[in-house]
């Protein structure tokens, strides 16, 4: 089948071309980060150096911005997991009068663009004097990823058989203990997935901290990077590239981690089974 073979070759050719298009901007940032004289165009460094990384990590204000990001996103991920496990429990286990409408509103909220509520949220923060508060920002971020967290958590919890809890109840365990000792451990993959999703989503979030936080000491890495290349002009490409790569690392590492659990998540089957 000559025609078939040719067709395959063309398909491989298109894929290689598309792959190169996707690779180019990434390759630039990697090469630039190891180049002492990095430019905007892509080029092989004449000498390789890790000085850029040393400079970024040697600067205490950079480290602090990573720390703030870690507190914001980490705190948010923990809160989302705890709050959504609690909410998912009755939604998964009990009959409730408003369950259906509650779940539908949750699903509805998962799809709303958060950008649209930023102006009133800012006004609210101003009114309650919460602007520039890391805790309040974390709580807002928590709320913004809760709908998705609850929806996913309920689906994960539905797949844990209720028989195990019932036998624990017969042995005298309370509902709370049943949730803590039996359901939660069985759901660890689901919990990990939600925590990772929440963390990565907020680690990369620029808009929310940019609006709600003001003083330089409280800004997470996402905003600091912008201040580097936005207002000061792009001078130190190498260092900025190194900063960006370091900042991207947690997302990449967590993505690789979550692969184990996520393989089925993309069929969207989980979401439709309600």
């Amino acid at each position: 089948m000559v025609k078939h073979g040719l067709q395959r070759k063309i398909q491989y050719g298109i894929l290689v071309f598309l792959g190169l298009c996707f690779l180019l901007p990434l390759l630039w940032i990697i090469l630039a980060s190891f180049d002492p004289n990095a430019q905007q165009g892509i080029k092989m460094p004449s000498t390789w150096t890790i000085q850029n990384f040393k400079d970024v990590l040697g600067d205490s204000s950079n480290l602090r911005s990573f720390g703030v990001g870690l507190i914001l996103s980490g705190g948010q991920a923990i809160l989302v997991v705890v709050v959504s496990v609690l909410a998912a429990y009755p939604l998964s286990r009990y009959e409730m009068r408003f369950k259906k409408s509650f779940l539908l509103s949750i699903l509805f909220m998962t799809a709303l663009p958060i950008t649209a509520v930023m102006v009133p949220v800012f006004q609210m923060f101003l009114f309650f004097k919460m602007q520039n508060s890391i805790i309040a920002t974390m709580l807002f971020l928590t709320a913004s990823s809760l709908p998705y967290g609850i929806w996913m958590m309920k689906n994960f919890m539905d797949s844990v058989p209720i028989d195990l809890e019932e036998s624990a109840w017969i042995d005298g365990a309370s509902v709370w203990n049943g949730l803590r000792r039996i359901v939660a451990p069985l759901m660890l993959p689901g919990i990990a997935t939600i925590a990772i999703f929440t963390f990565s989503g907020s680690w990369g979030n620029f808009f929310v901290p940019y609006i709600l936080l003001q003083t330089p000491e409280k800004l997470p890495a996402s905003v600091t990077i912008y201040q580097f290349f936005g207002s000061h002009g792009m001078v130190e490409y190498g260092r900025l590239a190194a900063f960006s790569l370091l900042y991207t690392m947690p997302s990449v590492v967590l993505y690789i981690f979550s692969q184990r659990y996520m393989s089925k998540g993309f069929s969207m089957g989980g979401a439709t089974k309600g």
Binding site: Q40, A87, Y94, M109, A111, T115, Q123, S244, M268
Partner: protein, 288 residues
Amino acid sequence: MKRKAPGSFLFLMPSVLLLLVFFIVPIILTICFAFTNMALTGAAAKSLEFVGFQNFINMFHDPDFRISVWRTLVFLIFSAVIGQVLLGFILALLMKEKNVTFRRVIGIIVIAGWVTPEIVVAFCMVAFFSDNGSLNQILGWFGANPISWLFSFPMVSVIIANIWHGTAFSMMVYQSALDDIPKEVEEAAIIDSATGFQIVRHITIPMVKGSIVTNMMLVTLQTLGVFTLIYTMTGGGPGTSTQTLPIFMYNQAFVNYQFGYGTAISLVLLFIGIIASLFYMRSMKVKV
């Protein structure tokens, strides 16, 4: 066996409280503030007044608003519908039944763009499109003169950036949808000597139609809210040439301090989002 639980509202309390304070209240505030002259500067800053539909009347007479709606549409159609949804589908389709290692390498490259945070994508893309950037460098090899992409074709630049960042999601959705198609169906078509294009058109696409619709709604909703990428790449400029609705809203509220007007624009954005969400929920055929 499901039972009624008297204490279950205690479990729901924390989430209801958080959603109420940070989700429901802001949405209600949006609706209220959109009808006021709220501002941080000028005469309106001193006296907050109910102005009825004035903000909306101003909005629809504001050429900047109308052109922002138009730009949002262009951005949605080219970067979401044509870009991510179509390119994602083509990638998934082409990668089907290819060498496993090859597939994996291409997959990792595309997904890397998706895993990269928006702000880093913006930085990479600003460098890529800059006067001395990689794109002009490569075009130079073919003898083309350098072009100031971000200045002359800012919309094209942000659209390409969003495609680069978002396509992996669609690709992954379609890959798992395509994997679910039973092999026999396509094999039977090949025996009936159907061409590749016919198979895709009459068998593959109808079988993954559900995924296509759901994914298209999700990508559209996501793209509707895109702020970071455009704001950090072009700041909405040059001039107002990349000012989509979220950027317009930001400029009115946080640059001009016209909060009432800014909120009215949020409400429009929210309204579009609500319509799209409802379509999205319908397309998923949810059973609760």
